[in-house]
Assembly symmetry: C2
Homo-oligomer: 167 residues x 2
């Protein structure tokens, strides 16, 4: 099936919610709720100075994956990858890689030089960590023990980009 | 002069704004604005489930320092020290230490086990870093190169506390 990347549409909201829920327990109920709130906030504030930015992976008109990113407040040229998710039925086909490469390119086009991603040390995130470390070649900036809760550390991944223009 | 710690009052807003501005360039204009917005948000939402928490260092009825902290969303028992500031005229008299000790105690009382603080590698933050590292014995969790902007790294300090109750 052909995959294409496109911008987020209001009609994607149910598919995005469904693919987040299908990824539990990697996304907790609270994280699913946060992501959906961010979608709504994006449409509620179409003229925000510094909006959440989205890209959707589309297969036959349906959102099978998405990424959400944006600048980190009080920084110049540093971006946060807030969410990246692919429907489990579409896993292992390179959709995540295609999405994140697109994000990296978009960040560089906007003059960004650094992308940060935060993830968990939990066992059910092993595939996620392999994705950042091995597939996407992110560097581990640090691991903060017991950050999310006792026994659940935070790992910060970073990747430096060559900015395409001065920010 | 006697120093006491007390909760934040609406009447403190001008003094807080003044002491932030007096600490430039350690606090940028944008950071001063953010802190003042957080004060206003606190008073606008007195029943917030998870409010910003403040403590004020008072000398003869005037706010000469303050700290602001709160739980980090999507964590259990981890707190962020958002801001701590002391008026430059009151520096080097232990006000910061008194404030941060109070915060650490409050976090532990609330069942928190970890406090995180983010600061900059810039030269004008040297005193701030000494405060966390030497005076308050915070551990450096990581340093992310060029995070704030090129040449301005982010340092994350952490301190593990013994929680006083289960969170």
């Amino acid at each position: 099936m052909d995959l294409s990347l496109r911008s987020l549409a209001k009609a994607d909201v149910p598919a995005i919610e469904a693919l987040l829920l299908a990824n539990r327990p990697v996304f907790s109920d609270e994280e699913c709720k946060t992501a959906v709130e961010m979608v709504h906030e994006t449409f509620a504030q179409p003229n925000a100075a510094d909006p959440y930015q989205w890209v959707v992976a589309d297969e036959a008109g349906k959102a099978v994956g998405f990424a959400c990113f944006g600048t980190i407040p009080l920084t110049k040229g540093t971006f946060d990858l807030y969410f990246i998710a692919v429907h489990p039925e579409t896993h292992a086909r390179g959709v995540g890689k295609t999405l994140l490469r697109w994000v990296e390119n978009a960040v560089a086009e906007q003059g960004g030089h650094l992308i940060c991603v935060e993830t968990s040390s939990r066992q059910d995130y092993a595939k996620t960590r392999r994705f950042y470390e091995q597939t996407m070649r992110y560097e581990t900036a640090c691991r903060i023990k017991d950050f999310y809760k006792k026994g659940d550390d935070k790992i910060i991944y970073i990747k430096y980009l060559e900015a395409r223009r001065e920010h």
